[in-house]
């Protein structure tokens, strides 16, 4: 037991500091990817609702393929595709090739995957908004943009929150897959610590505890937000 505490000490030779740094990168990647996913999801949801046949078809392919192919395969594909495209664009504009940092690459790949799921969640939330509210907004003369900004989006939030909370939890857990590609976050830091000390069981338990803590705190925060967003609404049974 004392041995375990020494290994988890915050300063070297303990590995606790590495794990916490890993947790912080995990959080950063998850938060960035979640934001990117929401932006893509918002675009995707409104594209699916208002778009023409071509846009709708493209978005259907996007959400179907992303949700049917394993995340690990997608992460690799998107990573190579993204760096190749970026470098092609850079060289054609006369800049030098560059490597994307692990943080931004992680945000981009996980965010792109999250976007497909967000699209479906937000589209469902849009369809759950009572049509009378949209009609009422138009009837008092709001423009299309104004009625979306002031009425539809706020009214969507309570319907979207349970799904969005779930997506955030998925995002935090999905970042662990980046360890397979070699980006430094909690899972990879743990793997390195475990490999160096041979205390596999202890370090994976510790990492599991950190992820669990992140999940539990997030669940609590989302429960608070959800309660607040439902103020004044009839309680559902």
């Amino acid at each position: 037991m004392e041995h375990a505490l020494e290994l988890l000490a915050l300063s070297p030779p303990g590995w606790g500091g590495n794990l916490l740094r890993g947790l912080w990168s995990t959080f950063q990647i998850a938060a960035g990817a979640y934001a990117l996913g929401l932006a893509l999801g918002l675009f995707g949801a409104f594209g699916k609702i208002y778009g023409g046949p071509v846009l709708r078809g493209a978005l259907t392919v996007y959400t179907t393929v992303i949700r049917a192919v394993p995340e690990l395969v997608l992460i690799l594909l998107l990573y190579y595709l993204g760096t190749d495209l970026l470098n092609m664009a850079l060289t054609s504009m006369g800049f030098e090739r560059m490597d994307i940092s692990g943080l931004w690459a992680g945000i981009y790949v996980i965010g792109f995957v999250q976007g497909a799921y967000s699209t479906e969640v937000l589209r469902g939330a849009f369809q759950a908004v009572p049509f009378g509210q949209i009609e009422a907004a138009r009837a008092i003369g709001m423009s299309a943009f104004k009625s979306h900004w002031r009425i539809i989006l706020p009214a969507m939030i309570p319907f979207a929150l349970p799904g969005l909370a779930n997506l955030w939890l998925i995002a935090t857990k999905e970042t662990a897959l980046l360890a397979v590609v070699g980006f430094s976050e909690l899972a990879l830091e743990t793997k390195q610590a475990a490999g160096a000390t041979k205390a596999y069981f202890m370090f994976y338990m510790a990492a599991g505890g950190l992820y669990l803590m992140l999940s539990l705190v997030s669940t609590g925060v989302f429960a608070l937000i959800e309660r607040r967003s439902r103020r004044g609404q009839p309680t559902q049974s």
């Binding site: 049917a68 857990k173 069981f201 992820y211």
Partner: protein, 231 residues
């Protein structure tokens, strides 16, 4: 795009596919049979068991599957060799192979997620049906076997498609512990041929087909199973 490597590796992909399907089948089978008691004790008690089940589902759903897999394979697996005499025992060939660890990890994951669904399903069976079963003199076990469980399973059937697809999409993780299923074979091809996109695209296409088959198959089955009447 250069696909000249494909014929050479096709037999290995077939082996990988078989391994993927085996992983999927055993994980769902074992996971579902664990999910039933996990869901049931949370509804009926006893209290300590209900708490244990609750903690189990929370931990499984709150941590990444990759960490669970590595904990089981590297963590628990590294403890076995220190037990004296285990290398000579009949268990050693099983403990040395990575496949059982992968099945165990995926089964626990299925049990965690599906256990949560089973809890809702058991609770969702109308009280009147259980009372009626008791009233005609069924023992508690008979009620469970003849009425409660079948009705609960009927309600969870639609979630089964999702669970199959989620588990299928989790199977590539097994490649990280040397179980070479479809994705693992794809990685081997990438290492041996130095190609990046073709093997990945081929692997993605295989998973796309598998998901499509699962969705269509379950839709067919769902149409054949009598729908429950909502009252």
């Amino acid at each position: 795009m250069d696909w000249s490597w494909l014929p050479e590796y096709l037999p290995r992909f077939a082996e990988g596919l078989w391994l993927t399907l085996q992983l999927l089948f055993w994980s769902i089978l074992i996971g579902m049979s664990m999910a039933i008691p996990i869901g049931l004790v949370q509804v009926t008690g006893p209290r300590p068991l209900a708490w244990l089940a609750r903690i189990f589902t929370t931990v499984i759903r709150g941590t990444p599957l990759l960490i669970q897999l590595w904990l089981i394979y590297y963590g628990v697996g590294s403890l076995f060799p220190s037990i004296p005499g285990i290398r000579e025992s009949f268990l050693w060939p099983v403990l040395r192979d990575a496949f059982p660890y992968a099945v165990l990890a995926f089964s626990l994951s299925v049990a965690g997620y599906e256990g949560e669904i089973m809890r809702g399903a058991f609770r969702g069976v109308p009280k009147g049906e259980l009372e009626a079963a008791r009233a005609i003199g069924m023992s508690p076990f008979q009620v469970l076997r003849r009425v409660w469980l079948p009705r609960a399973l009927q309600n969870t059937f639609p979630t089964l498609t999702g669970e199959f697809i989620l588990t299928l999409k989790a199977t590539p993780l097994a490649a990280t512990i040397t179980v070479f299923e479809v994705y693992g074979i794809g990685s081997i091809v990438r290492q041996e041929t130095y190609k990046i996109y073709e093997p990945l695209l081929f692997v993605a296409a295989i998973y796309l087909c598998l998901t499509g088959i699962l969705v269509l198959g379950f839709r067919y089955l769902e149409n054949r199973i009598p729908k429950q009447s909502r009252s």
